[in-house]
Amino acid sequence: MSCLQQHKESDVSVSENEESHVFADIMTLKVKTTKKFAIDQSTSYQTLFLNVYYDNKEKKRYLTYQDGEGNCIQFYGFDSEVLERKICFSKQGPNSVRKLTGYKVINFDSIYVIDKSSKTLALFNGQGVKKENYRLLLGSETNQTSTAWAFSPTSFLLIENDSIYLPAHPNRSPYYLGSPFVAVDLKSGNYEYIGKYTDYYSDPNDEWNENIFGGFFSHSYNSKTKNMIFSFQGDPYIYTGHPRNPLRQKFLARSEKFYGAKPPANKALSSAEHFLSIDSYVYILYDSYRDLYYRVASHSTDLLKTDLTKNKSEDKIMSIIILDASFEKVGEVYLPPNRYFFRTMFVEKEGLYISTAHYANPNLKEDYIEFDVFEPQTLLNHE
């Protein structure tokens, strides 16, 4: 039995800032610079999966980028800003990856890959040869039909004591009775579903239907405190702990404009419409260079624009809540519409990188992956 199954909600300690929801901004985010990487004709300027990999042997930093159509992981020199190498996977045969849905580069000869289509986690070498294969998500229990979500900067992959911890979103309602993580024993290949969702979703007054996005969560890792930070989409609190016990401590990290997500009154909405119509918290990132946390809040919007055309999820107004090392809110910054593709963001020493591949960005260039680099700044009246 996992630790968490014995865990009681009363064990959750609550931070002192629980009641505080009147904020005075101390910090803001300013665009410091831009960064762009040249891509070829067969690579899309949007991806859901990218990351930064630092190669210890070469002493060199790479932007790694999932080319989903080519079924490849591309490595762009962070300084050269061009493609320097890539690893592609076949779609058939013993070394196949049918649908690449995230990866983690340990080094050039060890890369963990999620294949959502065949529901496997596999370890590949640098030549695209499968070294290990872990079959996931077998069985018939509720959680075992879940979707293994992949790794990205907003979905941190923890490898610890020969175990790998993957987020696994239950896809049956009520999802909050499922477990948000699966732990895979890398020696035996056995796996177990672990952790639990917050009680935020179990309010009997809320009728969440299957179209909910509330089951989604984001998590980051603070290597200094050895804690993971969990942000559940509906919940105004963020939680710290471990995948086996993700609710160890909670901190209020709400937007000034809303508290948490509530199910929409109209139950007939599609998933996309549902997402548009609710306020929610979509991502969490830890900035180890500045000891700050960034929580991305997505604000509800109308289904239709003023010209009666449909809004898309990318049309939602986004704000970034800045939290200090003690999880005290120190700012909330609203970003301009029609510029940012929020699914692609990461933190590096230069600041917070956010993709500018919004579909309506008038300056969008198809042959580049482009980012604005934000730097947190203390507001003048607080210096």
């Binding site: 004709q41 067969s42 449909k310």
Partner: protein, 146 residues
């Protein structure tokens, strides 16, 4: 409420439904005509594929386009997406065929004509005769039995 009133109300609602469907199909035909001129053809088929929707349905639709467009002159295809580059990558060889258009302003999505599934229209003299939403359960059968 008496029986005859019930029948009248039922007939009225059916009539309203009929006319509202007709009106919707007229709008669909008008949007299609901004991409494709079907008026000179007795019958034509138009398959609209949302490139960001159901990925399995999209793959089957693209496979079908690559299999069959050269053989069927009365078939037209519209890929609907804002990401023209990705559409071309996904369409592959099919992107170069003359009976394929890209709806880069996502007119079909914006006007509510399509959602996440491909939609197949049958037109006669520019008017919509039939409209089918091809979800994952029927797409293969519907396309390959045309």
């Amino acid at each position: 409420m008496n029986k005859s009133l019930c029948y009248k109300l039922l007939a009225l609602s059916l009539l309203l439904m009929f006319f509202s469907c007709k009106k919707e199909l007229k709008i669909d035909a008008s949007i299609i005509s901004s991409f494709i001129n079907c008026k000179h053809e007795d019958k034509c088929y138009v398959l609209i594929v949302p490139m960001d929707g159901c990925s399995g349905c999209r793959s089957l639709a693209i496979k079908y386009i690559n299999d069959s467009t050269a053989m069927k002159p009365s078939f037209h295809y519209i890929a609907s997406t804002h990401n023209t580059k990705l559409a071309k990558i996904r369409l592959g060889y099919a992107a170069s065929k003359i009976n394929i258009k890209i709806d880069s302003n996502e007119l079909f999505f914006n006007k509510g004509v399509i959602g996440k599934y491909p939609v197949l229209y049958q037109l006669e003299n520019g008017n919509v005769l039939d409209k089918k939403v091809l979800d994952a359960s029927i797409i293969q059968e519907e396309l390959y039995t045309l």
